[in-house]
Amino acid sequence: MQVYIDILFWVRQKKWLLVALIYGMSMHHLVSPPADLNMAAYDALIIISMALILIITEPLPLPAIAIFMLFMQVVLGIDTANNVASSFMNDAVFFIMGSLMLAVAIVSQGLDKRLALGIIKLTGHKTWRIIAGFTAISAILASFIGEHTVAAMMMPVGLTLVRYAHKDPRKVAGLTAALLFSIAYGATIGSIGTPSGGGRNVIMMNYWTEFGVGTVSYLEWMKYVYPMVLFQIPFTVMILLWTFKPEQDNLDTAVRKLVVEVARSGKIRGREWLAIILFVLVFFGWVFLSEDFGLGIIALVGVFLYLAFGLVEWSELNRKTNWGVILLFGAAISIGIQMNQTGAAEWVAGVIISNLSQVIHSPEALQGSVAVLLTGIMSNILSSSATVAVVGPIVLDLGGDKILIGFATAIASAFGYFTAVAAPACTIIYSSGLVKSKDFLRAGWKMGVLSVLSLLGLALLWWPVLR
């Protein structure tokens, strides 16, 4: 009897794996591909839809899903083992690996205490100014060092302020939510600003290069996208204050206690200066050398320097880096390349365009709407970077200016305001246990409207000036 219970329990836990397998086998063996789709492209689409089921429902660890995507390409004969292996590793994966390791190296320096003092000096004690400061600093920093790094550094500052504002954070729920969301949404709106703001930006750049669309430099990216970051900051502050209505107008006592706590760490030390200098070097490398060396390689050089100067131990990097995510992005980009090469992406794009062209007559409006809606919706279910890895090849085949469509897609992938799963910064504040899923919806829809309108403004008013 116990054996039956164990089997039933396994089925309960792995039901979505079984669903994915049954779906995949049925589609491969029982359903013929559409006439205008070759078998390799059809199989690539089956693999990607199975992977999506597995990623969303998580019956398996991410590395297992990555391995599944890789071996299925070979088993179904889409490509040879060597070609799959070479499409698996590229500069975008190097960048994701490097940026995850840089995050560990930077966060472990304790620079967050310096950051806290800096923000307080800038903002003073008024609640709205602190929220504005948190949003602006998170956005600007995240645009260069990535939202996960910024959220990891800012969270303690935010939570310490909340703790000093009231013993029980639930009694100042509005203030708590406003402070934490200023970190999460600030980092999220900032993450689109430069290529190094998020792995998804680099994935899109990689697709542009891989599919022969062209190259975009670090500064060019900033020229196209950074105005949107700056434009959104004040409106985000207004949305947060309007939605969460902090209970206290002034955080005098909390700020004083925070300053006392932070002041205990003394003057900035040599190794902290070194950590900052190394990051500035990496930043300049991204700005001036990435076209020759690639963003990923430069990120890895940064990791090398942090290790060489003894600012971080390898054991710490090894322990705190999510190798599973790196594997998954490698595999997702690999299947994305197959979608492009087999014609699967073009076929999906064609189906979407032919079905929706009856509704939206202007080709540009149709391509832009599809890219933004598809990416925005999927990033709230999956994760922003995974969305770009999967959707990227399809939207680039929608037609129109592939660079602009790529920008719109990368930007829309940051519209994951509605759930805790989309953006790392949102997951991080959710893990505090002090914000609820419904808080994401309360503020998220307003942020969604703001971002869509900002993107529209950017595409209609700013990009035509640049092209």
Partner: protein
């Protein structure tokens, strides 16, 4: 013939699952109360939501950084509250009173985090932090430590989880729905010819003896005729209680068992019944008396395995 199953209270291990200081007070209170009267050891487990795997390392990195600011994991915060509550429940327990919660003294093992407490004689409390799906994590914890009884608060997801909790947790289960710690409940002991009845009777007698709650033994048959098995089980239950000098009331009712249990229990009983011995696949497809009863009643229910 008579019931021979005996419980050795001093060797019992109970597990209480808590979710937050806001909602888990009654569950922790009942867990500590019955662990105390049974002289059982008590594990307190917090099962929190696991971060999305994509961002798991970023969350861990943040938590590590929060440690530097002395801001601890919300689950550890809840366990700290639980230890404080336990001390308040048992001011006379000197060993427990002497223990201080230290968030730095935690040990990661077997997919869980254990708060290290001094192993002083008389303490017998474990604080455990787990993250993931509730039933899966409780099952792993029970299998790992061999708990005899899992005590769970009634949640809004109860009906959705009823089947999984009963079918997959490998221990007896006490679900505290709308439980009021100061209320004196009556025990409603359901007796029939199933194999689990003997254990239910032993648990019911022990609880009645330790907590002083009145007992009502109920036997329900779908037909007017109560077979030998039903009659014999009811008689043996009465003999068992008589041997422990516990007074009981006893009823025989004809009707649909689950509806009768639920109606009879009203809002002032705690139901005790045996786990189903039906084939697990049949239970999955058609349900079982415990699953249906748990899904329909709002009173605390102990399902003995």
């Amino acid at each position: 013939m008579k019931y021979t199953y005996k419980i050795k209270p001093e060797s019992l291990k109970f597990l209480t699952a808590i979710s937050s200081s806001e909602y888990s007070g009654p569950t922790l209170g009942m867990g500590s109360l019955i662990a105390s009267v049974f002289d059982a050891s008590l594990g307190v487990v917090y099962v929190g939501e696991k971060a999305n795997e994509f961002h798991g390392s970023s969350v861990n990195l943040t938590r590590k950084n929060l440690d530097n600011w002395n801001i601890i994991h919300p689950g550890l915060e809840t366990l700290k509250w639980a230890l404080k509550e336990l001390k308040a429940y048992f001011p006379e327990n000197v060993a427990l009173g002497g223990i201080q919660f230290n968030a730095d003294h935690v040990y990661k093992e077997n997919g869980r985090v254990r708060v290290l407490l001094p192993e002083e004689k008389g303490c017998r409390v474990e604080l455990i932090l787990r993250e993931g799906e509730l039933v899966d994590q409780l099952r792993k914890e029970i299998q790992l430590e061999g708990y005899d009884l899992a005590i769970i608060g009634g949640s809004q997801n109860k009906r959705h989880l009823a089947h999984s909790i009963i079918q997959y947790l490998p221990s007896s289960i006490l679900v505290l729905q709308k439980f009021k710690p100061r209320k004196k409940y009556k025990l409603l002991l359901l007796v029939d010819d199933s194999d689990a009845t003997e254990k239910s009777v032993a648990w019911g007698a022990l609880i009645a003896e330790k907590l002083g709650w009145p007992v009502h033994i109920l036997t329900v048959s779908k037909t007017k005729r109560f077979g030998k098995g039903y009659q014999g089980a009811a008689d043996m239950a009465k003999t068992y209680f008589d041997s422990m000098n516990i007074e009981i009331e006893q009823s025989f009712i004809t009707g649909d068992p689950v509806s009768t249990f639920v109606d009879f229990a009203g809002d002032n009983h705690m139901i005790i019944m045996g786990a189903s011995t039906l084939n697990p696949i049949k239970q999955l497809l058609f349900g079982s008396k415990p699953i249906k009863t748990l899904a329909r009643t709002d009173v605390p229910i102990l399902i003995v395995r």
